[in-house]
């Protein structure tokens, strides 16, 4: 049960139960949709981008606890960040999720996002955690396309 607890940490269970920024975003100027065809997870990420800064962000959709908590945590951590800062965070999270632990990611830099580190022990669930981040990236690029994790 120990590594299960590592996956389903209290913070994750909390964000799953009470997702933050989980609503439609008024005044959004960037939106992207993400799908995980394997499990049917679906997410919409909306941004209000002003002068290169993510002024506001929200998400909607349905998915498992991991994908929902990851999306919720993502919105809280990129709000107020510049595009470039969000990109850096994307790379760090990606590195953490895919288990390249010997790299230079400092858990302190990730803040709350570090609770997702247990996911890399569950290869089938990595896509659940990364879906929101890929969708955020698509929204920032502003190409309006849909993201598939497959």
């Amino acid at each position: 049960m120990s590594d299960l607890r590592e996956l389903y940490q209290e913070v994750i269970l909390d964000h799953n139960k009470r997702p933050r920024n989980f609503h439609k975003l008024e005044g959004a100027n960037r939106t992207a949709e993400g799908y995980n065809p394997l499990c049917g997870d679906q997410i919409t990420v909306s941004l209000r981008l002003e002068d290169d800064v993510i002024k506001d962000i929200s998400f909607q959709g349905s998915g498992c606890a991991i994908s929902k908590a990851s999306a919720s945590l993502m919105t809280t951590s990129v709000k107020g960040k510049t595009q470039a800062e969000a990109e850096v965070l994307f790379d760090r999270v990606h590195t953490m999720l895919t288990g390249e632990r010997d790299t230079t990611v400092d858990p302190h830099e990730l803040g709350k996002l570090a609770v997702l580190s247990g996911v890399c022990e569950f290869p089938a669930r990595v896509k659940c955690a990364s879906l929101a981040w890929h969708t955020l990236r698509a929204a920032l690029k502003g190409d309006g396309g849909a993201v598939l994790t497959e």
């Binding site: 389903y8 499990c39 669930r125």
Partner: protein, 423 residues
């Protein structure tokens, strides 16, 4: 499913079927002995694929160890042996389905290829713009997409038989869909997502009254019940070997000989011809016309052995045992607060699809896996079914004859654990 309290269901079973020795039969499946996450493996993903008895594994390895040669090119001894084993397996399949003639048994890669073969070969020959194809709302994607592709190619239209909230097809709606434009019906025998056993004989009769041919997708049926294609009078019947305790990569298309005769080949190549010049090719006779290229010989031999194995146990005994096990599992699962079973048809086989209040199927799957229990979590390649019930995904436990009451108990305990984790 109408059943009594589960304890009495099992007690009844012990009295009525003393000869069904599941413990002994499990010994035939080496893979079932292992542990997963330090817990005994409880394999409840049989609708995805079934495990293989040692006799099947031995037969395929024996073929490669001692008999490997190409078929139908027999000048030498090994090739003659391989051809004999290959054609013997075809007759085994014929007997299994009670088909009239081995010419009606075509070896394909699986159910998916069988349906694509019929859609392309029959469909492109006999359908025209404006024609209609009827399928049901509980089809696997493999019995939807090939017909959509055909519709695009021919300008035909797909019509869909709806089902009720228990997951039973609405036959009066089906009757209304049938008209002079209907040129083909393709329906699943047992639903992989819901477990519903469809009244396939009646569905075939209704189509035949209008001279419309019917394909039955039997992928989820053949491991659970006796199928007699002459009794059903179906025009085509498709299934996969790997869901029948046989190897992956081999499947069967049964087709009535007179229909197969009128259909052009699906693929061109070796073995499907009788003579080739650059001006003209003469196609081979049935069933070889539809078997281009070197087939999966080891797969065919393995499938034959799997059918022999099942026949020895007896499908009627398997049906009865699984029926009791499903009733037991349904009662136990329904008793858990927050569980909703998806698919509650009166006639069901092998499948328990369910959702838990506020907990996604994927999370259920991960936690069950940690208890050694293998189930499927997702849309089961039947996204329209999920949409119909308004759920993104379900958890699905699917049974085979080697599953036990104790394994169902382990599943129930693990679901309680899931609820505990999510508080």
């Amino acid at each position: 499913m109408r059943h009594s309290m589960y304890d009495s269901a099992v007690a009844k079973w012990d009295v009525r079927h003393p000869s069904f020795d599941v413990r002994r039969m499990r010994e035939d499946f080496p893979i079932l002995r292992q542990k997963v996450h330090d817990k005994p493996l409880v394999y409840l993903d049989n609708a995805a694929t079934t495990q293989k008895p040692r006799s099947v594994i031995d037969a395929t390895s024996r073929y490669y160890l001692a008999e490997n040669a190409n078929v139908h090119r027999g000048i030498h001894t090994l090739s003659e042996k391989a051809t004999q084993a290959y054609e013997d397996a075809r007759d085994t399949v014929r007997r299994f389905l009670n088909a009239r003639d081995t010419r009606e048994i075509v070896f394909v890669r699986g159910t998916t290829e069988a349906i694509n073969l019929v859609a392309q070969s029959y469909g492109r020959t006999f359908l025209t713009a404006g024609d209609e194809i009827v399928i049901s709302a509980m089809e696997h994607h493999s019995n939807i997409v090939p017909w959509q592709m055909l519709c695009e190619q021919m300008g035909a239209r797909l019509r869909v038989i709806p089902f009720n909230y228990d997951g039973e097809l609405l036959l009066d709606e089906y009757e209304k869909l049938l008209n002079e434009r209907t040129k083909f019906v393709s329906v699943v025998h047992v639903s992989n997502a819901l477990g519903t056993i469809n009244p396939i004989k009646q569905i075939i009769e209704m189509a035949h009254r209008r001279n419309v041919p019917v394909l039955v997708d039997g992928a989820q049926a053949v491991a659970h019940m006796t199928v007699d294609v002459q009794e059903l009078e179906c025009d085509f019947y498709a299934f996969s070997g790997h869901k029948l305790f046989g190897p992956t990569g081999i499947g069967i298309l049964y087709g009535k000989a007179d229909l197969l005769e009128r259909m052009p080949p699906y693929q061109g190549g070796g073995d499907m011809i009788s003579a080739v010049t650059f001006e003209k090719t003469h196609y081979n006779t049935l069933p070889y016309k539809f078997e281009a290229g070197t087939p999966d010989i080891a797969g065919v031999i393995g499938l034959g052995v799997a059918i022999d194995y099942l026949s020895e146990i007896g499908l009627d005994a398997i049906t009865a045992y699984e029926h009791e096990l499903l009733a037991y599992a349904t009662d136990a699962l329904s008793a858990i607060k927050g569980v909703r079973i998806i698919g509650t048809a009166r006639e069901k086989a092998g499948v328990l699809s369910f959702v838990l209040d506020g907990i996604h199927a994927h999370d259920i799957g991960t936690i069950l896996d940690h208890e050694g229990i293998a189930i499927r979590a997702g849309h089961h390649c039947a996204m329209p079914v999920m949409q119909r019930f308004g759920v993104p995904a379900t958890a699905r436990a699917s049974l085979a004859f080697y599953n036990t009451k104790e394994e169902v108990d382990a599943l129930i305990r693990a679901i309680h654990k899931v609820i505990e984790v999510f508080g």
